[in-house]
């Protein structure tokens, strides 16, 4: 029972406390580049999750075999293998999405989130926990991508998942789906998230104070 609870905590950690995008500010290149449409955000999030889960699992399984000194090159090989798999799979089954994500799929190899989890988590923890950590981090990344890309697609093209949502009188703000919009919208989103986290901490602190009194 407590084992299950523990795994749930590890999973939620990736979504809330250590959300790779909002709390750790890692993996910014794909976040900014592909968040112009929701379907791209989902595709990128799932592809990265796949790589994260399997690289975490394999690195955790090999953690007692890989010598400390060559761990970085070993991580690179493991991660690059799964990226190649995901790249080939996407080319075969979702060619249109693969085309629109373009160079950013092979670039999952250098996504700092995956390196950070391999180095700081999977190399030290047992396989099951590492797998769940990969799932949680992947989910956190995917959610952040969906959030950012929905805002950008809605304001920038007036659609969601390609379907018209905004009324016809709405003039899409093209700048939002251009590169400057990526920087600015992510900045604003981070602002909102930071404010929410601060408010939550304050709330928690005042509740703890009340209880102690």
């Amino acid at each position: 029972m407590s084992e299950k609870k523990n795994l749930r905590k590890i999973f939620m950690n990736g979504i809330l406390d250590e959300n790779p995008t909002f709390r750790m500010v890692l993996g910014m290149c794909p976040t900014l580049a592909i968040s112009t449409a929701v379907n791209q955000g989902i595709g990128m999030g799932l592809a990265t999750t796949f790589v994260l889960v399997f690289s975490n699992l394999v690195i955790s399984l090999l953690r007692n075999i890989i010598p400390e000194k060559v761990r970085i090159p070993s991580f690179v090989v493991v991660i690059a293998t799964f990226v190649t798999i995901v790249d080939q799979l996407m080319k075969a089954f979702v060619p249109a999405l693969s085309q629109s994500l373009g160079v950013y799929i092979p670039l999952i190899v250098v996504n700092c989130i995956i390196f950070a989890r391999a180095e700081s988590y999977a190399f030290k923890q047992p396989p099951m926990a590492s797998l769940v950590d990969g799932l949680g981090m992947g989910a956190g990344f995917t959610l952040a991508l969906i959030l950012l890309s929905s805002v950008r697609e809605l304001l920038g093209s007036g659609t969601l998942m390609g379907a018209q949502v905004m009324p016809a009188s709405y003039h899409p703000m093209a700048i939002i789906i251009r590169p400057p919009g990526g920087f600015i919208m992510l900045g604003l989103l981070l602002l909102v998230v930071n404010a929410a986290v601060k408010a939550m901490q304050k709330h928690k602190a005042s509740r703890a104070k009340e209880e102690s009194v």
Partner: protein, 195 residues
Amino acid sequence: MNSLLLIIVGGVLVNNFVMSKFLGICAFLGVSKKTETALGMGMAVTFVMAIASLFTYLVQHYLLIPLHLEYMQTIAFILIIAVLVQSVEMVLKKTSRSLYLALGVYLPLITTNCAVLGVAINNTTAVEGGYNLIQSVVNGTAGALGFTLAIVAFAAIRERLEIGNMPKWMDGFPGALIGAGLMSIAFQGFSGLIH
């Protein structure tokens, strides 16, 4: 010659790696608190990207394509870059002490700078059949110079922000990202230069 000029203008200004392709953002946000460190990072990236363009070109055209192993591109390229960065560090340490002191600390960070892998892949996909050897190296160097331009300018802006009167809730990443967004708008203005 004309095409090389187009590649240079395109790489430095129009398709700036940071400002319009979102490559190398980690380094762009991480190492841009001071102009000197930003310049050091930019120079180290330029150095590595020029050499990486050369080596990835050779591997792509004399190893991967003849052996029909194009699908191994990602693994091959990232390994080349990792080895290259490591050897550049060792060579610099032995031969040029001053250059090593200037660039040394930035070198390990470059392996995971997506701009380097990005340009290597871009060289093979930019035009039908990929750039030729000279175009690849020029593209790598120009892209890296564009990266240097962007990171140094951004560091200068951040230095000003430090002493400026920023609202407290904009401190840190949100303010930096919005600043980068405004800078990116300026870079959009270059897009009329080539068609």
